[in-house]
């Protein structure tokens, strides 16, 4: 390792003009020290400490204080401020702390390259920025003329978040040049819950502020693992506070997660994708034992029982009718659910009684349970149970569902041409839109903004994203589609590494890291603050931020003035701050924000989602068609697909789930998880993170013994879609019958096409979830053998 590093370091210094001075002064000695090299720019000089932040797309947004000497980052610190009664420090996690070994990684992309071999083969040749931007302008022109604006797809990409990301600017440029582009809705992370939660509540902002959790007596974390996902900077710390205030915490998860071991009084393992069966049986128990809050249901909800249905609905369609078995002859008893979930019936009954009687209680669902073929049902079921226990709109309770907070910090965005981006596909079905976009319709494929698509996708801008190959499902199928150059005709990727996605591009551009550009970071979920992420160092090598080279493209299209309005990237950040000044009277202004690095919104008391609607339902309606909480949705009823898209929440068995006949061939359920050592696929090649957590598959000793697998053995996981090699961690921390593979490892096929690096998406399906065509990457059946 050390030898490898010393070579890399020397090459690195040679490549980088910006670092030449540092090397001369450094006196690093043979090999230097490192993965963090170069570090000792000048041991005697005082570093400048620059407030910045971490802009990768995990669940948090954290303060970073970068130490810089002579243009070189020498140390990463996080929020130096102490915690106070009013605010918690915004401490970064191991990922942010290890960022120097990303910035100074020897494999950074250093100059623009164009493909010279077949697409996906990985053969590239260095070109100039002028050639690269000319090529983009020409291809844009050609494809726009030939196939139209809606054949151009700015791809889902989250490697850089915030207004400085290329994803916003490309939409601006396409609006100006082509007049439109093909947009997407939903996310790979939260597609099902963002789609399903509004059917119940009219919004996805169904969560109380975290500071309210201390008021809960019982917290049930269903598939929620903020110890690793982070899911809001300080979320684990808020849960610690809640536990110290007396809350009992129960974790429902196939794995005994790091969240569970640090917080849980009890762990209830559940088969992936069966949360609705558990909840149905809990609801059944509550009704049988008369523990549910009938008054709440009567007053606020539509569809719980036959007495509260929308006018004109045929009899027999209420939730109660379903759950008691009057509709299909199968009462959803705990014994019924035991067979599906793997949870003993007695435990289900006890959990139902506990949640119904210990009030207030918060049933907090993570995004794991919804990332399934039937994930929308898990979401709708949990919202139903929150209503049945009257925990909606009250302190210490939780409405469940997506659980985004009622309000958060607001900034402006990069303006795009009015009326553009209205035609959208589910972000998950873009490969299908490459093959048969022109056949896609609103009715069949859930196209939004148009009855049908006019064209297949012909041009992709993949700016700081690895969803082109690695993070999309069924890598083998994706690779096959992308390899056909007659389908998608041009693919541009901007990234900091030759990721598996970059390899499948026609043009690869060297992007900048979070430390090489200004940006504004706002949490996508919880957090009453924003971070000004200052540029810390100049872009290395020939690297450029997307806005910079898109301005060149705009110039070649004759649109530079319109595109840039004469603004630098920092000017655009300033522009975005005008939005914050409007939304928050206490916003100190751009300069002060930039200098301090953090802006904290003033919040008098923790906000409770739907408090107003519950306090005065006549004056404050829910944003649903009926104005009530819709346990029964007429809109879903009208989709006339009751088996897979029911109007009330139901357990809908998943394809590739535990009751799929495919279990005869592939008897193990496989779920993914967000590993502490990565933010999605970012950091997979970071040596410090590889040391912190090896890519590994979790398997229970019962399943391992049955297959002759010992802890540490290299194994092969496979199904009809593909196979991957990965070391096994034989552990009781996962339930029998289920294996888990952390998502985000970079696809690295061997000669036989078998992935060698534990890339989960070689095994996942491109079939979208039942209700919203979203990403079901936790729903899989596989078999495992010793490799």
């Amino acid at each position: 390792m050390s030898e490898k590093w010393s070579i890399s370091r020397r090459s690195l210094l040679k490549w980088s003009g910006a670092l030449a001075g540092a090397a001369a002064v450094g006196g690093l000695g043979a090999g230097g020290v490192g993965p963090f090299a170069p570090t000792e720019a000048n041991a005697d000089s005082e570093p400048k400490v620059i407030p910045t932040g971490c802009s990768n797309n995990c669940g948090g947004r954290c303060v970073i204080r970068a130490h810089v000497k002579e243009g070189v980052i020498t140390r990463i610190e996080s929020d130096p401020d102490p915690d106070s009664a009013e605010q918690m420090a915004l401490r970064g996690c191991l990922r942010g702390r290890s960022y120097r070994s990303i910035v100074y990684h020897p494999d950074r992309l250093k100059y623009p390259m164009k493909r010279v071999g077949k697409r996906g083969e990985g053969k590239f040749e260095r070109i100039s920025w002028d050639e690269a931007t000319t090529m983009i302008a020409n291809e844009l022109k050609r494809i726009n003329e030939k196939h139209g604006a809606l054949s151009i797809y700015p791809h889902y990409a989250s490697g850089i978040s915030g207004p400085a990301a290329g994803t916003g600017f490309i939409k601006r440029l396409l609006g100006l040049y082509a007049g439109d582009y093909l947009n997407y809705y939903g996310t790979y992370s939260s597609g099902q819950t963002r789609y399903a939660t509004p059917y119940t509540y009219g919004t996805s902002n169904s969560g109380n502020h975290r500071a309210d959790w201390v008021n809960s007596k019982l917290i049930i974390l269903d598939g929620f693992n903020p110890a690793e996902t982070v899911f809001g900077t300080n979320t684990m710390y808020y849960l610690r506070k809640a536990k110290e205030a007396g809350a009992k915490i129960i974790v429902i998860d196939p794995r005994y997660t790091d969240t569970a071991l640090a917080l849980a009084d009890e762990w209830i393992p559940i088969r992936p994708g069966t949360d609705s069966a558990l909840i149905d049986a809990m609801a059944y128990t509550m009704i049988k034992e008369n523990l549910h809050d009938q008054a709440f249901l009567d007053k606020y909800c539509l569809g719980f029982d036959e007495e509260h249905m929308p006018a004109g609905t045929p009899a027999g369609n209420s939730y109660k009718t379903y759950v008691m078995g009057q509709a299909d002859g199968q009462p959803k008893t705990p014994e019924w659910a035991q067979k599906i979930t793997g949870i003993p019936a007695n435990r289900i009954k006890a959990l139902a009684r506990e949640y119904a009687m210990v009030k207030p209680g918060a049933l907090i669902q993570g995004f794991g349970p919804q990332r399934h073929a039937n994930g929308e049902q898990s979401v709708r079921s949990a919202t139903l149970l929150a209503c049945m226990t009257g925990n909606v709109g009250r302190s210490g309770g939780h409405a469940s569902g997506a659980g985004y907070p009622p309000s958060t910090v607001t900034f402006g965005g990069i303006p795009v041409k009015a009326g553009t981006g209205k035609v959208q596909i589910s972000c998950f079905i873009w490969t299908d839109a490459i093959v048969r976009g022109a056949e896609m319709t609103a009715e069949k494929d859930l196209i939004v903004g148009a009855a049908k698509l006019p064209s297949n996708i012909k041009l992709i801008f993949n700016l700081a994203g690895n969803t082109l190959v690695n993070q999309h499902s069924d890598i083998n199928k994706t690779a096959q589609i992308l390899a056909d150059e007659s389908l998608c005709e041009f693919i541009v990727t901007s990234d900091i590494f030759m990721s598996p996605s970059a390899k499948f591009s026609d043009l690869v551009l060297p992007g900048t890291t979070t430390y090489e550009r200004d940006n504004i970071l706002t949490p996508w979920g919880h957090g009453e603050y924003a971070i000004y992420s200052n540029k810390v160092i100049e872009p290395m090598y020939e690297c450029r931020e997307e806005y910079d080279w898109l301005s060149d493209v705009a110039e070649k299209l004759g649109l530079k003035k319109e595109f840039t309005e004469g603004k630098s990237l920092e000017d655009w950040m300033k522009f975005c701050c005008e939005g914050a000044a409007k939304a928050h009277p206490e916003f100190p202004g751009f300069e002060a924000f930039k200098k301090a690095g953090v802006f904290r919104r003033k919040v008098a008391a923790p906000e409770i989602a739907f408090a107003k609607q519950i306090a005065d339902p006549e004056k404050n309606k829910f944003a649903t068609p009926s104005g009530k909480i819709e346990l029964f949705s007429k809109a879903l009823f009208d989709r006339k697909n009751p088996q897979f898209v029911p109007a009330v929440p139901k357990y809908v068995p998943a394809f590739d789930g535990p009751s799929d006949p495919l279990v005869e061939k592939y008897p193990l359920q496989m779920t993914g998880w967000h590993y502490k050592r990565r933010s999605h696929s970012t950091h997979d090649n970071n040596p410090v993170m590889t040391e912190a957590g090896r890519q590994e598959m979790w398997i229970n000793p019962i399943d391992a013994d049955a297959r002759g697998i010992a802890d540490g053995d290299q194994v092969k996981i496979f199904n009809d879609r593909g196979a991957t090699l990965i070391p096994a961690k034989v552990t009781t921390r996962i339930m029998p019958g289920v294996i888990a593979v952390p998502q985000g490892a970079w696809y690295a096929p061997g000669k036989d096409g078998v992935d060698t690096h534990g890339a989960i998406n070689i095994l996942t399906t491109q079939r979208g979830s039942y209700m919203s065509n979203s990403n079901p990457q936790h729903t899989n059946l596989v078999e495992v053998v010793k490799a």
Partner: protein, 197 residues
């Protein structure tokens, strides 16, 4: 001697995220393989088959260790050059880089793996409780990094007073009688020495 310094870890809330380890690594510029703060997972138990279901009887927790700045440090005892020494003022054990010859006796004698040999430097590295930070009035890097606020430092007597339930031995660590370590833990419920479920 002045007041002996030590660490306190609230193991109950340690989620094994390794932020402390990476913050330490970055601050001290350590190469891959050299970790002045380390986390180890302890897990076990099993599943009881009840009808057609499995009921878990599972435990898991993390043990975080950097250096315990022991009362009787084996590393100091076994250092042939006097490079490894215990500061008479605060009891912090550190290694004088000008005297270390890289013989590694210290790495073999410490039961906690605290001294770590750096191939690149040819010398032993170890936690000095961020002496430079302390001199500036700052807390050690690991302490301010912890997202769970589970690490504290200070005079060990004060830490013991502040955390009367804390113990020196959790299940999985060496017998504290060997070196008299100055790290105390609020035990994870499954890590109570001898009392693990």
């Amino acid at each position: 001697m002045g007041q002996q310094l030590g660490f306190y870890l609230n193991q109950q809330f340690c989620m094994g995220c390794k932020t402390c380890a990476v913050a330490c690594k970055d601050k001290n510029d350590m190469e891959i393989g050299v970790n002045l703060r380390r986390l180890t997972e302890v897990s076990g138990g099993g599943f009881a088959k009840v009808g057609d279901t499995y009921v878990p009887e599972v435990f898991a927790y993390w043990i975080g260790v950097s250096c315990n700045h022991c009362d009787h440090p084996k590393c100091v005892e076994n250092c042939p050059t006097g490079a490894m020494h215990k500061n008479p003022e605060d009891g912090v054990v550190s290694v004088d880089q000008t005297k270390c010859i890289g013989c590694r006796y210290c790495t073999w004698s410490c039961p906690y793996g605290a001294p770590q040999y750096s191939e690149q430097r040819g010398k032993t590295q170890k936690c000095d409780m961020c002496a430079d930070y302390r001199a500036q009035g700052k807390d050690p890097a690991c302490v301010t990094s912890c997202p769970m606020r589970a690490i504290e430092w200070g005079p060990i007597d004060e830490l013991k007073k502040k955390h009367p339930d804390a113990v020196v031995a959790v299940h999985g660590l060496p017998d504290p009688l060997m070196t008299s370590p100055n790290t105390i833990y609020t035990s994870h419920k499954s890590a109570v020495s001898g009392g693990r479920k």
